[in-house]
Symmetry: C2
Subunit: 285 residues, 2 copies
């Protein structure tokens, strides 16, 4: 009798144990399941926690599950949680508690950022590459160096890095000349492609063996004359913009570092600083 | 004996049944687990499939699991799959098969896109709102209408929609004036904030009750004079840019629809079309 009493008591205590959670700025709670847990214990703790949090008037509930804790997903899904996002080593589940308010949880990331680099030397030769992989493989097409910005990487830094990686050329970022938005680029996500104008700081090409078949400085006219370039509206527009830039009659957006509004660190804004500062009346100088 | 023989036979057949997969353009395979499956059967089928696919020289393997099939995650993780991304109703797992090549699977989405709208009428009054939620709640700060672009929504369309939703004002998108990049905006993801210049097509304000406390047409000087606006470098730059725009000495990037390079449909490029087309020598006209 004693044993069975103690056992019951243990079970009840366990069922009533609430999950540890930290508050977020929006009236919600964040549960970080770093430690392993028995799935039945998690299920009962989660149920008790949700009742408690609902009584407290909590809003969005987040549960971060490291990939090794796949045994806890079932309980969360059965309590109405859905996947908010996932990264290689974890999945983030979410649930919105208020019955009378539409879900105000932030949307998942929707875009990636890619960059293309227009680099031209004093002889009006443009830096171009031929790629080893992808759709242009083996077609002899010469194109600007391109690539994807890493998570947390500035557009201007990504352009400089990609040029250096693919061709060995050192550059200085000058301006964003144009950008293109393209939806359903991968899965349901969108792609923002920023064409950057960069000044070369070195001239000796060193080809990246793994991705690049060949690289060279090519007369701009020769680049332009490729049928591949003429065929696509994006590339025809890029030629028009780059030509105007070479001729000194096009202003893109330089990068201006600023102090961010509500945080430490540094943001970057891209805009035509010369035009904005060149006031008629001096009031904004 | 017959029964046990048949049973063994069945098990072996099951173990050897390969998962259905479709090929992608990059030498990989995509498995879409729409139907439920016993987790042990899935584990053995996955193991057999991976051996087969490795022999075939396949590269990236994708498994899409609807949220209700949480019972299959364990087997995939045990076979070395990791989370690539998740959306509310599914998680996408991935594995890279080639031992001698670095993983070339595309990175997960890294950004969201937000928009701010600079709308000014003929009396040089700017359209401003006070928000009911968030950091500015109850602080009496008047700000431009802002919001997040929906997945698949163009920047120019998002700006027009947000202004309409928050204030009832109809507008026409004219230009992107500036954009700001900000990292670690939510979880580890980045935020690209595009300030758009819009022409009003209507003038009678109708406030969105759920999100907006108040909205008005406010003299631009009065907006600018707010200490909140003066305090932050982003907003001081926005004032400078908007003033230059009002004075006719700033050119942003209009939106130009184009045919996408490798797909059906329509993309948008943003660039200074007037400058790019205003050739000195006529060669690009």
């Amino acid at each position: 009798q004693l044993w069975s009493f103690r056992r019951l008591y243990q079970v009840q205590t366990r069922q009533l144990r609430l999950l540890s959670a930290t508050e977020d700025e929006h009236g919600g709670l964040f549960v970080d399941m770093q430690d392993p847990m028995d799935s039945h214990l998690f299920a009962s703790s989660l149920r008790a926690s949700l009742s408690h949090w609902t009584r407290l008037g909590k809003r969005g509930i987040w549960i971060k599950l490291p990939i090794r804790h796949y045994n806890l997903i079932e309980a969360a899904v059965k309590e109405g949680f859905w996947y908010h996002h996932a990264e290689p080593k974890y999945v983030m589940l979410a649930k919105w508690l208020p019955q009378d308010e539409p879900c105000a949880l932030p949307a998942n990331a929707s875009h990636r950022v890619t960059v293309g680099a227009f680099v031209i030397n004093d002889k009006k030769e443009v830096l171009v590459v031929q790629e080893k992989n992808g759709m242009l493989k083996g077609k002899g097409v010469w194109k600007f160096p391109t690539g994807t910005a890493n998570q947390g990487e500035d557009i201007c830094a990504a352009a400089v890095r990609e040029v250096k990686e693919e061709t060995g050329i050192e550059t200085k970022f000058e301006q964003v000349l144009t950008f293109r938005e393209h939806h359903k680029a991968f899965f349901q996500k969108s792609d923002l492609f920023f064409v950057c104008f960069l000044k070369p700081l070195s001239y000796n090409i060193k080809v990246q063996e793994s991705e690049i078949e060949a690289a060279q400085w090519m007369p701009f006219q020769e680049y332009t004359a490729q049928s591949f370039v003429q065929r696509y509206e994006l590339l025809r527009n890029m030629v028009k913009i780059c030509k105007a830039k070479m001729d000194g009659r096009y202003s893109g957006f330089p990068a201006v570092p600023i102090k961010p509004s509500f945080k430490e660190g540094r943001d970057i804004i891209y805009f035509n600083n010369n035009q904005a500062s060149n006031s008629n009346d001096g009031s904004t100088q």
